[in-house]
Subunit: 436 residues, 3 copies
Amino acid sequence: HETVCIFGTGDFGRSLGLKMLQCGYSIVFGSRNPHMSSLLPSGAEVLSYSEAAQKSDVIIITVHREHYDFLTELIEVLNGKILVDVSNNLKINQYPESNAEYLAQLVPGARVVKAFNTISAWALQSGALDASRQVFVCGNDSKAKQRVMDIVRTLGLTPLDQGSLMAAKEIENYPLQLFPLWKFPFYLSAVLCAFLFFYCVIREVIYPYVHEKKDSTFRMAISIPNRVFPIAALTLLALVYLPGVIAAILQLYRGTKYRRFPDWLDHWMLCRKQLGLIALGFAFLHVIYTLVIPIRYYVRWMSRNMTITQATTKKENPFSTSTAWLNDSYISLGILGFFLFVLLGITSLPSVSNTVNWREFRFVQSKLGYLTLILCTAHTLVYGGKRFLSPSILRWYLPSAYVIALIIPCTVLVSKFILILPCIDRTLTRIRQGWE
Amino acid sequence: HETVCIFGTGDFGRSLGLKMLQCGYSIVFGSRNPHMSSLLPSGAEVLSYSEAAQKSDVIIITVHREHYDFLTELIEVLNGKILVDVSNNLKINQYPESNAEYLAQLVPGARVVKAFNTISAWALQSGALDASRQVFVCGNDSKAKQRVMDIVRTLGLTPLDQGSLMAAKEIENYPLQLFPLWKFPFYLSAVLCAFLFFYCVIREVIYPYVHEKKDSTFRMAISIPNRVFPIAALTLLALVYLPGVIAAILQLYRGTKYRRFPDWLDHWMLCRKQLGLIALGFAFLHVIYTLVIPIRYYVRWMSRNMTITQATTKKENPFSTSTAWLNDSYISLGILGFFLFVLLGITSLPSVSNTVNWREFRFVQSKLGYLTLILCTAHTLVYGGKRFLSPSILRWYLPSAYVIALIIPCTVLVSKFILILPCIDRTLTRIRQGWE
Amino acid sequence: HETVCIFGTGDFGRSLGLKMLQCGYSIVFGSRNPHMSSLLPSGAEVLSYSEAAQKSDVIIITVHREHYDFLTELIEVLNGKILVDVSNNLKINQYPESNAEYLAQLVPGARVVKAFNTISAWALQSGALDASRQVFVCGNDSKAKQRVMDIVRTLGLTPLDQGSLMAAKEIENYPLQLFPLWKFPFYLSAVLCAFLFFYCVIREVIYPYVHEKKDSTFRMAISIPNRVFPIAALTLLALVYLPGVIAAILQLYRGTKYRRFPDWLDHWMLCRKQLGLIALGFAFLHVIYTLVIPIRYYVRWMSRNMTITQATTKKENPFSTSTAWLNDSYISLGILGFFLFVLLGITSLPSVSNTVNWREFRFVQSKLGYLTLILCTAHTLVYGGKRFLSPSILRWYLPSAYVIALIIPCTVLVSKFILILPCIDRTLTRIRQGWE
Ligand SMILES: Cc1cc2nc3c(=O)[nH]c(=O)nc-3n(C[C@H](O)[C@H](O)[C@H](O)COP(=O)(O)OP(=O)(O)OC[C@H]3O[C@@H](n4cnc5c(N)ncnc54)[C@H](O)[C@@H]3O)c2cc1C
Ligand SMILES: Cc1cc2nc3c(=O)[nH]c(=O)nc-3n(C[C@H](O)[C@H](O)[C@H](O)COP(=O)(O)OP(=O)(O)OC[C@H]3O[C@@H](n4cnc5c(N)ncnc54)[C@H](O)[C@@H]3O)c2cc1C
Ligand SMILES: Cc1cc2nc3c(=O)[nH]c(=O)nc-3n(C[C@H](O)[C@H](O)[C@H](O)COP(=O)(O)OP(=O)(O)OC[C@H]3O[C@@H](n4cnc5c(N)ncnc54)[C@H](O)[C@@H]3O)c2cc1C
Ligand SMILES: NC(=O)c1ccc[n+]([C@@H]2O[C@H](COP(=O)([O-])OP(=O)(O)OC[C@H]3O[C@@H](n4cnc5c(N)ncnc54)[C@H](OP(=O)(O)O)[C@@H]3O)[C@@H](O)[C@H]2O)c1
Ligand SMILES: NC(=O)c1ccc[n+]([C@@H]2O[C@H](COP(=O)([O-])OP(=O)(O)OC[C@H]3O[C@@H](n4cnc5c(N)ncnc54)[C@H](OP(=O)(O)O)[C@@H]3O)[C@@H](O)[C@H]2O)c1
Ligand SMILES: NC(=O)c1ccc[n+]([C@@H]2O[C@H](COP(=O)([O-])OP(=O)(O)OC[C@H]3O[C@@H](n4cnc5c(N)ncnc54)[C@H](OP(=O)(O)O)[C@@H]3O)[C@@H](O)[C@H]2O)c1
Ligand SMILES: CCCCCCCCCCCCCCCC(=O)OC[C@H](COP(=O)(O)O)OC(=O)CCCCCCCCCCCCCCC
Ligand SMILES: CCCCCCCCCCCCCCCC(=O)OC[C@H](COP(=O)(O)O)OC(=O)CCCCCCCCCCCCCCC
Ligand SMILES: CCCCCCCCCCCCCCCC(=O)OC[C@H](COP(=O)(O)O)OC(=O)CCCCCCCCCCCCCCC
Ligand code: HEM
Ligand code: HEM
Ligand code: HEM
């Protein structure tokens, strides 16, 4: 039964203490008022800070950085001890130096290790460790670090060694981040959606209003979103596969793989996963918006009126096999595309991608990914069908939105097609295998 | 090549032996009839129990507790050895003491470690370790425990130290549990559904039968479930966010966070995830039940008849933009709400929640969660629309079901709105940061 | 700061070097042209191969197997060192012996450890370790292996000990595999789909063409897939539960569980998960194909025409409660079946199945799985309804496809029902508990 000392009897100290007691450690708390502390886990001892420090050579400091001053009085007792800094700040780069480095300056004789700051007190106590189980650890003394990592492991968490105490800054920033890799894809798709939305509003709300004085504002609730979302999905999907094509062209042009890609390309390639998942989200919305079509009042009203008109005017409405073919095939292509899309999504779940090997992952993400892109592009092309180039779809010289939707996907598919021509592919493969 | 001894050549012994052989251990089996054992993994030695025991100081006892008696004859050979107890019982608390403690009593000189009981023989052998890879380990001798944990790790499993042998009881109960955290949410939703079902049957089947002698029993297959499920979903979703509000009020009232919540609140807060996932399941059912509406015979029959009636009576049916707006917006709100709902579901997958940090997890679960609640409540409100307070919807003084559905969500949203008013929020934040 | 030497400054060498530097190692590269190497991570030293080898006793050889010859010149310097072989081949079984064994032959004095070959350079560098984080390690010297496993762990990866160097062959084949367990289920379902597709084409396209000269080819886009997919789903689902039934009969017949199942049964039982997931994929397609029915041009045309015909012929079309009941119930059964199906899918996600215990996993997969099968079979039975045995559905003596669909599921359900009769179940349980 190893003894560990915890300074501070606040939320985090108590939660950690309880957890460590359960995992077989003996705990000694250090507190300003050892006799007033309530709610402490039973089985733990509470002493004054200086007394507690003498009981163990591992001391976990669960006190806010702002109150670290009291440690200066304990410099002697703390000499040679392992001090674990768990503190977080409220803002990124709030202080010039990291809390752990500050602690190391305050108590020069101690061996400071940064750890546990990404774990929440509430999660620790309730056992509902739903956010990350990873504990980033860093420190200059590797023995001290090893001791702390053993504790982390014993608590059922996963320690990750991040090197020397200089990494503390980054570790302290980590819990303050909010989806850094998602930022660019998110803004990109927001801008894309806004643009498409206004484009469609102009064509489908303002234009009819100006020309026919027709109030079609209600289209902004479903009809227009159901144009914006699929187009955004298709465009983002194409943007997932565009950087790979650009990279290949660059490698061909340079004749070597041993040169760094430009920064924007590097960054773009790193956020392809996020772009793809957002595209999946839009595709999902498109599918549901499409499936509710027959429930809509507007659609039911239209359909009823058309039936009545046809019945009363006694106009013939012969069945057109070619229309049936076109209609059924574009729907079918969409469904198959969506199915593969979902498959791509499932294989990006961390637990699934961890169980497949690299070749399998590439097979799904690259081969099936291109197949998805082909199916979705074909879906849109067949949907556009004959109307595609007819001038009647222009309104104020603006073409239908799906015409715009097709530009990037078609570019990507054509370039890729050229790149996999045997002669070019062979050169590329040679370059990528490092045999220049 | 470390040598390990396994007592018993049953299912579990053989599977474990095979696995350990593959991972580089030498295995000696102990058996009652060393010469009759078949099916044993090739490469393993089979001896009598006492001979086998002498070959290694780690002995894994893969024998049912009922047959442990024969070990008393081997007390001398087993002195100082590490005995690994893997046994399970058939019922929770079947025996007064845990199997491992019983073993320790039987062979007082041995160092008993509990491990492996959560792993299934079949899974071990087939490699399809689909249920948990976690191996809970406990024991009084920490060196012995460490040895066993090393073996666990070498087999590619994850050891979790649970402390002293007193934890064995809990570890032995673990594989006998059946979704303990899901129990309360499950029963709650069952009761809720049953109540709503009868409520709707009274209003929509019995009432028309009594008043108009109309047989609407067929509504029990789709129409009524499609009222019960969405209402249950909305109510459960609101119940997910209610305890947070209650907790905040309690903290404000007490002026401190350093007092335990009442037990019922604690338990409620721990099963919010489960409540939320069940709500998601109901929402999913609601969505599919809604999407099949136009396929139903009843709906097609109605729609056809109404068209014919309108055609023959030549009644006008002018297009109402406001109806189109209302109809499209409540559907659109529902779709967006469902989308966020699914997102909440995806982030509760253990592998996803493990890769996000605490701030990100809270952002999704708390911020987006409230947004989901708002969207779903708005969906229902707009659906109810003008009919909401009209007395004509009362049948036998019973209001429409969705009116009931709105009570809890609206309460939660209003309370939360009050709690985030700047003045109250500031006090609350101060309390939660521990600066009282 | 431990020093590690890396031979070769190619893609993999540089990526690994960078990662190790970040994790606190000192790195010395060995290269043919130490002065020409560019793009190397800053902080690393570059020397000639022989000089670099002297700096550390762990040397990672990131050179293709084809170029290993140069190592023969360094035999003396490499004596006693730990050589880590990371190489992969381009084809399975490209060389008679594994690369690692070849390396061990080339440099007999060195202690060779195989590791890292499953990790991709690009993933390592970009931090996007989306494919597996598992590092398979093998080697004859257990101390050397331990050293390498420590490095693996420090890099945040998961080492898995695979035993002696003889395992290297298998480890080298691993990254070349492409979904080995999915092969059989995939081919099986491809054959099944092809057969069903032709069957339906004969009944629904060729037959009407021959008899009525009607062009129904457009049915091949949606109508026929929406017959093929659900039938494939139901059949595969039944095939998931068939081997369990066969196994039980075999055990009953043999009276013991201590005899191996025939190989085909073993293999079948191991790929049930894959069969089930493919079935889920088909069911998903069936659901979407069903939900788009009302959007189809053909369906809208039909519905409009039928309404008009009814309006003009003034034929009565009374509401049939029993049809409404039948129609609503088969749809409702399908929805509930699909819901449970999705639940089965979710619990097969590795991260979910890792958090449930064996009993819970069996409860979902076995109990709820059978419930799913029952619901889906009932869905099809009720859909078939009265038409089931009417001779009018025969075309060229071929029955409707769903009649075929029902054979295997009904067989499985009936057999299972017999097996759980108390008398038989008791015998079976006794056999399975090993008390013969
Ligand atoms: C729904 C969805 C989910 C997704 N999830 C993920 C995910 O989880 N993880 C993920 O990474 N992506 C994900 N993506 C993005 C995308 O599918 C993958 O990045 C995919 O691998 C890109 O394929 P590619 O063929 O364009 O690129 P790649 O085949 O990777 O090639 C792109 C370029 O990288 C360079 N390159 C690749 N290999 C080498 C090499 N050996 N040597 C030198 N250069 C090389 C080449 O220049 C190449 O042109 C997802 C996409 C979608 C739509
Ligand atoms: C589909 C779905 C899936 C879900 N999955 C999950 C899941 O995987 N995991 C999960 O946990 N929940 C899950 N939930 C439940 C729910 O989303 C979360 O619990 C969510 O965090 C609740 O947010 P809240 O704002 O009400 O509570 P919180 O913001 O957590 O606050 C609730 C109360 O806790 C107390 N509290 C919180 N932080 C502190 C603190 N620092 N100090 C003192 N007291 C504090 C306060 O009293 C506060 O009022 C899920 C819900 C749904 C609908
Ligand atoms: C969508 C979907 C997803 C699926 N995902 C998975 C998955 O992730 N993992 C998975 O494994 N399967 C998966 N399956 C397949 C299937 O659900 C399971 O294999 C299920 O456990 C089979 O149940 P059973 O009752 O037929 O077989 P079991 O109850 O396992 O029994 C089958 C036979 O195994 C033998 N057996 C079982 N236990 C013992 C024992 N203690 N002693 C001796 N013999 C024994 C018996 O002979 C028994 O008859 C999935 C299926 C579907 C449809
Ligand atoms: N809460 C979390 O979820 C979480 C997560 C990760 C990291 N952390 C970090 O853990 C540390 C503690 O957080 P916490 O939430 O436990 O805070 P807290 O509840 O406010 O507790 C702080 C404790 O510090 C002690 N302390 C010592 N000197 C003090 C002083 N001058 N003024 C006030 N308190 C003093 C007090 O203990 P005594 O009264 O016994 O002296 C007090 O209980 C912080 O650095 C925080 O960043 C917290
Ligand atoms: N099966 C599982 O999936 C699983 C999972 C986790 C834990 N466990 C635990 O592992 C233990 C063994 O389970 P099992 O499934 O392997 O059981 P089993 O197949 O019935 O084997 C039990 C073995 O115990 C030996 N034994 C010794 N004395 C005995 C006696 N008097 N009567 C009968 N057998 C005697 C026998 O081996 P010899 O003939 O060689 O003497 C027999 O093969 C149990 O404690 C069980 O709880 C099993
Ligand atoms: N790339 C991956 O994703 C990956 C993944 C897992 C395993 N691996 C394995 O790692 C090894 C290296 O792969 P890599 O992608 O890094 O290959 P690479 O880029 O082609 O690099 C190979 C390096 O080997 C060195 N080398 C020594 N003698 C050589 C010779 N006669 N001809 C050519 N090069 C010679 C060169 O370094 P100097 O110029 O400095 O001498 C060269 O940079 C291979 O065995 C591969 O299977 C690679
Ligand atoms: C339902 C269909 C999908 C609907 C919604 C699509 C989701 C789109 C966005 C997903 C966002 C996940 C946020 C994760 C937060 C995060 O940062 O997560 C970060 C993690 C991991 O990041 P790293 O591994 O890169 O560090 O990313 C993920 O885990 C991604 C999870 C992807 C999940 C996709 C799941 C698809 C499920 C498919 C079922 C669909 C069925 C559809 C039937 C109609
Ligand atoms: C398809 C949509 C979702 C439909 C069904 C919703 C699921 C509702 C219930 C989930 C139950 C999971 C049982 C887990 C067993 C367990 O105890 O599991 C226990 C685990 C982990 O528990 P702890 O981490 O708390 O120990 O819980 C989970 O892992 C929860 C998994 C949640 C999965 C939600 C997945 C949503 C997927 C979204 C895709 C939706 C696409 C929709 C398109 C139309
Ligand atoms: C959307 C519904 C589902 C649609 C598609 C169903 C998926 C069918 C095929 C899944 C294939 C996964 C390929 C994995 C690659 C692999 O080898 O993966 C291998 C891994 C693990 O293998 P081992 O653990 O056996 O080694 O397998 C898996 O992880 C399986 C993951 C299954 C995921 C099912 C997820 C269902 C999600 C449910 C949401 C549905 C919502 C529906 C709403 C309408
Ligand atoms: C289940 C799957 C799908 C179905 C049933 C489906 C159906 C449809 C339908 C009916 C339309 C016409 C909409 C209208 O009339 O306004 C359409 C348009 C479109 N779809 Fe899909 N689709 C599916 C999947 C996808 C996917 C996965 C994508 C791409 C990512 C996609 C991209 C598009 C695009 C770009 C349009 C044109 C939008 C416009 O300008 O109106 N679809 N789809
Ligand atoms: C794709 C998403 C959704 C769609 C298309 C949708 C559609 C509908 C429709 C058409 C109705 C009217 C049903 C009827 O006429 O009987 C309805 C009602 C309702 N919906 Fe939704 N909905 C969606 C999502 C949600 C979600 C996520 C919730 C909440 C959790 C929800 C809660 C409700 C409630 C409470 C009702 C009233 C039920 C009643 O009393 O009839 N819906 N929805
Ligand atoms: C949301 C869930 C489901 C719905 C709404 C649904 C609906 C339908 C409908 C409307 C049909 C008649 C199709 C037609 O007229 O051609 C049908 C047929 C069928 N369904 Fe489903 N279904 C569902 C889920 C399932 C599932 C999970 C399975 C089985 C795995 C299944 C198996 C079948 C089979 C075998 C047929 C007969 C196919 C034929 O011969 O036409 N269904 N379903």
